[in-house]
Symmetry: C2
Subunit: 438 residues, 2 copies
């Protein structure tokens, strides 16, 4: 039963997830700064019984180069927690996952903001914990520059533990919320006392315990230390895998790590990204795909590829030649490997790799009819490559609308996706255990 139904997340991103979405003739140009647009998208996802919507984040502009910055797709003008608070009061069941970094905030502040979102959504909040690999973010906050990968994760570990302790420091019923003689039952409050290398927290949250216990923890680490942090603390992991074999390898790897933290396989849902390009016929889908791919300027594709590879620049190398040999860096290690492997395996040129990765930003792309897309999803779900998917519609709202109208009913017909929400909290719908409940 727990294995029989997949989980679905909807990746929301202004005009669409495709890198050139904003340049498409159907694109809604004001998408990124129109709150009603985002509310409408969340309501579509909720109509489709999605477990959650997901907002990515970076506390910076996305590109240093003015040329690229003005040609690449953008996300949103809204900081994710504010955006999701506005969406929370216009939805009732869909989970609300905000990305937030452990590198430029403090555990008490962040735990408190997520507790607020969790409270005002009736238990639907989730935190996608990231360590922020971008130098542009570092420059907005620290004179000392971007921390190394291992320093970032060391900080993330301590941050996550402090946040979890803060949420768990307030038991059910600790704040009485009744017209009694006292406001708090001190025996149910467990002040946190943590004095670590990066943070010092002595206190308790003033929010009642969430209806789902505490926010859902999401993570997308691809490095060893990232996967370990996920295995130890996350309820959901996002991942970008191209082939089924890659997805299976990631799936097996992350699950194999659960045991050493005393957790079982059901405790962690692995949700790779899928970029579905849906057509009534295969030909229509392919034409849609081509129309989007043709909008990617080579400069944007190659620059994105360079950034995925964590190297300064690829422009010294011929566009139609192979990738140069590269040393490992301290940045996003595994995405780098994935690209290098694909290039070697399929003999792709820089231009081809650039197009291939840029469109769906490194995620699995499936181009076809609703049946073909459901087939592809079912196959990976059945074959131990995924517990569900993070659906990255290339264009909004049409791509999400099509998925909900055409693909979701097909998944339901096959009995591998819910017909109705199991409950009103994200935790209940995901089917992961509630901490502090027996």
């Amino acid at each position: 039963m727990s294995r029989s139904r997949m989980k679905l997340g909807a990746f929301l991103m202004a005009g669409g997830h495709h890198i050139a979405a904003w340049r498409h003739p159907d694109a809604y140009a004001q998408a990124g700064s129109d709150i009603d647009h985002f509310i409408a998208l969340a309501q579509i996802a909720e109509r489709g019984k999605f477990d959650m919507i997901f907002i990515e984040d970076a506390a910076a502009i996305r590109e240093r180069d003015p040329e690229l910055a003005s040609q690449a797709a953008r996300s949103t003008a809204f900081e994710p927690l504010s955006l999701l608070a506005a969406i929370a009061v216009n939805t009732s069941h869909v989970g609300l996952v905000a990305t937030a970094s452990t590198s430029y905030t403090e555990p008490y502040g962040l735990a408190r903001s997520f507790a607020a979102l969790d409270q005002l959504s009736g238990g639907r909040a989730g935190w996608n914990l990231v360590t922020s690999a971008s130098e542009l973010e570092a420059e907005n906050f620290a004179a000392s520059g971007l921390r190394s990968h291992s320093q970032r994760y060391e900080r993330a570990e301590e941050f996550a533990d402090a946040a979890l302790a803060l949420w768990d420091g307030v038991e059910d019923g600790a704040y009485l919320l009744s017209n009694g003689e006292a406001f708090a039952d001190r025996s149910r409050l467990h002040p946190v006392h943590r004095h670590g290398k990066h943070f010092s927290v002595d206190g308790i949250l003033e929010s009642p315990r969430s209806p789902q216990g505490r926010p859902i923890m999401v993570q997308a680490g691809a490095s060893d230390v990232g996967k370990d942090l996920a295995a130890r603390t996350a309820d959901v992991v996002f991942t970008a895998s191209q082939t089924k074999a890659e997805a299976q390898a990631y799936y097996a790897d992350v699950r194999a790590r659960l045991g050493k933290y005393g957790r079982g396989h059901g405790d962690l849902k692995v949700m790779p990204g899928i970029s579905p390009i849906i057509g009534a016929t295969e030909e229509e889908a392919k034409a849609k795909y081509r129309a989007l791919q043709d909008l990617i300027p080579d400069a944007v594709g190659v620059a994105l590829l360079a950034s995925y590879l964590s190297i300064e620049d690829l422009s010294a190398y011929p566009l139609d030649g192979p990738l140069p040999e590269m040393p490992p860096t301290n940045l996003i290690q595994s995405r780098q490997q994935l690209i290098i492997d694909l290039g070697k395996r399929e003999g792709l040129s820089i231009r081809e790799l650039a197009r291939h990765f840029a469109g769906a930003r490194g995620h699995w792309q499936v181009v076809g009819t609703p049946i073909q897309i459901a087939d592809a999803m079912e196959e990976r779900f059945a074959d131990g490559a995924a517990d569900g998917f993070n659906v990255m519609a290339p264009l909004f709202p049409s791509g999400l609308e099509d998925f909900v109208t055409l693909v979701v009913p097909e998944l339901q017909r096959r009995g591998i996706f819910r017909e109705e929400y199991e409950g009103t909290t994200l935790r209940t719908n995901l089917g992961v255990a509630q901490p502090g409940k027996s």
Copy 2:
């Protein structure tokens, strides 16, 4: 004209602003964690044509002593920016002012969150800048403890300048938001490069310029350095004054500081707090007041008085004797002075002072009919003590509802308060100039 109409803010605080509100038989016990309650209050304020609602804040529990913590009134379980984002999408005209501290966050992060609120509310955001005088907050963030008053303000000055520079770094039209060839017009983006003692910021915001230019700056500094920061950067100042003479002195003082920063009197609105206890007759109002005051436990009143005075404990002194002599501290200096002065002037005992200040938390209390309350407000408004008021209804929703139904129409009849909103941005309604517009 600019002088002829007062500005009104509504202080929203869970069950009510009165310290014992939550213990009142009419209190709504779940108020602090019910988002619908807050949305309803904001809608009442908007019906009353209030310029803004205001959410206070502290990133900590409010009392260290378990006895007091469980007997004093509480605010809300919601972090203010999340709360106001949820309210923004359920209102259309009322301004949304969130308190946020310069002591435990970074300018880029905060500027970005306020830009999001400003964007999603269509230009209605305001930031009440505080430096956080509470040790309980310091303990949640820093091993080194509470910074001194002067260190806090030094940090606040640098923080405010960086936030203002970030907002002003994006001109109107910098982000094109149209299906063109480019997403940004670089000539309208002015990256911030600030390397100060406390912060380092090299970057720009990814939000389009707000319809009101940038968020409204609110401040409540009472010390010299606090009033100077307000005179230099704020559009609105909140203040707590008991007597008309005190209010006039504060008003004159703050306005006198504007000139040295090249600003005029119209650039800053001074809004003292008022706690109105409204009855159909004076007797009814007095009975309402007594019913609330009688709910204040002596221990809570005296502890609050001690905290206002920034001293550890008053329990060593006889409740019916006068305040002891006290040295100045580095904490909230002027509130301390105000209490000491009142005690001496009126010969009040510790118990009497405690009750007097605890009820409305040090603010001006007016107990009477709607006419009497309008008279009192008009007098201070006309006599150079206020440009408007921050209305602190003792109980919610009834206290705010009564104010809107009974007092607002009386103010309108006298021509000293608007009948309709002047516009849809907070800046337009306040009538303060828009930066970056000529």
